[in-house]
Symmetry: D3
Subunit: 168 residues, 6 copies
């Protein structure tokens, strides 16, 4: 009756600069649907991130210390995301949706990814209601201007943001 | 390493008046993610469907004759859809997305469903590219005006549509 | 330094079938911006409301019993809304926004209203975050199917809904 | 150097209940692009129009009395619109766009029409700025409530609307 | 009967690079709703504006020379906008809406601002119809390419634009 | 019966960095509506294109070698696009539409262009279904990461992309 005996794997890609409670929420939802979730941290040389790749990987791993067997965090520096997913035997790319404008872009991306590799499905999950309005960039903007983001990110991310912006 | 030993179940609700190739595509994608998919056929007394409930259930079952162990088709006449999903031990409500306007409504619905029952996730899948523009109502409008929909629905649905509209 | 010595009046139109916590939230926000808010209850003969006009007016008045001097509830049976607003010396039509699809319609309506009467401004307020996903029609659908809406409407509305649907 | 020696024909479909200045504007723009424009008046038995088919055809013809050689007004009662366009040797279906929500539906319709008949192009024109917010249904709602629509429709339509609503 | 004896204050934030007739229209509408409007000129070091902060403040002040008692123009260099609004005892942040894409972003921003400071309301006003399609950036692009923007900005802004682009 | 004896001209503007099958499809559709199509290649100094202006012009010309009498490819370095269209006696600006987000921007642009020059119409065509999800930037991103875009661009563009990215 089972689909297969292999563990089901989902890939959740993003920049995570930094990871927010919204991302964490999506990952936890994905853990109800997949045996394993691989968090693919995009190392895009074009953008100038606040946190470098190793800082981002380390801070994500810290969020899931007690689920090490089901979560893997991997830097993805080059190549197509769908090729990465195929190499990892992933069944699906996981995308979190927040707003209508998100959806429009995600739609195009999913169509392109499907064209490139037919076997990997794109599935869309919705963040919990209270995270719908947050994004990494808005959190950075608020934190940079002295606003309190302590209930929008995990405590260690909050501390990292304070360190970054106080030294400026 | 497994999420649980129970088979994972997804509920795919709809009116299916009639079922289209787009619906079938979503169901086949869902079968890659769930052990079992329950197709919940809404019997909404307000709308005036072209096919009655038993016609719709029978024509859906015919599409999945060779996957009877993994597909179940059930009429849902009253009560909340999320309550139905809970009763069936479903992990997720499956929704197919086509266009931006779809998304807007689906978003509100998913938020309301989550509020009503926290344990059932809403997951969104995208139909194959070539089905993005079809819907049951557009197919009926085309068929009603003598247009050819034979490559948008399964053959037995095509025949049913011809029977309905020729007798008018 | 003052704009004028007359009290500022805003008109908040709607069907209110029934009034929800989202409506009440918008009205309370409007009370911070206007001296008086007139709630214009549309008596549209085309739609078939669950509650008749006097039920709706009475149940709205009950929500604002302790602010009778600043809230007025009036049935509007015919004529243009902007003409009503002018007759009442209102400065603005108040509209609550929830989703993108709302906005699109509201935009067209505001442009038409402005064309008809130049002196009445349309202002848009956003409901509190937790009411963004509710609407009168979704509440009726949930209540009709036995779902719990007790934290989405005031207690007396919840009771009215139970009465309506149990007698069906 | 010419595309062909045949006159180029565009079909502009609609309900035109009644025709507005926005429709007229689109037709005049289409006359710059096509040798002939056929106005296809949909006689949809499902909707309950304010003006019957012959009233609508007559009132449209009156708008273009001095361009009878380049404008044709035809009732379309049944059959697919694209089949009608093919029968009339039309190169394109002309659609007027107003708002985002329009576009979403038009997009789906154009995809379906192209699937049905490949040779007929859908082209989208934008109404003049001052007509963007008007539609036949909004004009009827305003006129029905005693509002002045004299600068949104031609004079003879304004008179027809007054006749309809005064006799109610 | 009055809300309070204190003058009501609204804050209208923006980059104003340069101020357009659309901005001026929103400010004049806001003056009907508030006793005083504070124009908060964002001095964002990341963007590279055409006009520096003092040029922008001076050119805005020139637009409202005869309403100095009700309009205040202030540079905002750092800190959160909502904190600024609280410090100024403002009741509301005023936002002008033009298009759907605007709304989507504004919605997220308003939710974040409300989360940060509960007492400051976001209210949305619509520009006059004829300014809906203009923005500072589009005006700069047109002016830079020799187009005429004299009826989209006040005369002194038109002159400033000519000076900037002729010296290039 | 003819609109005029002059050949009808449409201008199709873009960056074309590089030209895709989607662009080519729009141009071929435009050739059914206009006697001549001028492809206006924007040489925008702000953006940093992958291909320089002469590379882009040459590669577009190569796509239409057998229609040289009806297609003209011209670099547009400065000035307003509508002024260019007027100078070329063009009847219309041709725009290809793909997604809802496209439309929103195109709408604003068309309104501005119409304001600047009344005689030039903006007409919107839809790409063939299979090109709806592609754009020059997405193609570059895929090609840059080693993905196969050979069925999304003409062969010589595919080769040019390989040359560019292999030399990096």
């Amino acid at each position: 009756m089972c689909k297969s005996n292999q563990p089901s794997i989902g890939v959740y890609p993003g920049t995570f600069d930094p990871i927010t409670n919204g991302h964490i929420d999506i990952i936890e939802r994905a853990l109800h649907l997949f045996d394993k979730v691989i968090i693919a941290v995009a190392v895009n040389s074009k953008k100038d991130p606040l946190f470098n790749a190793s800082e981002r990987v380390a801070s994500i791993e810290k969020c899931f210390e007690d689920q090490k067997d089901r979560i893997e965090v991997i830097e993805v520096a080059s190549g197509l995301l769908v090729d990465f997913a195929v190499k990892k035997n992933a069944k699906a790319l996981i995308r979190g949706l927040r707003a209508v404008s998100d959806f429009d872009y995600e739609f195009q991306l999913a169509l392109m990814n499907r064209k490139l590799v037919r076997e990997v499905e794109s599935i869309f999950l919705m963040t919990a209601f209270r995270w719908i309005y947050i994004s990494s960039s808005m959190i950075k903007e608020v934190a940079c201007n002295g606003g309190d983001v302590s209930d929008l990110v995990p405590p260690h991310i909050n501390q990292l943001l304070k360190n970054k912006y106080s030294t400026k």
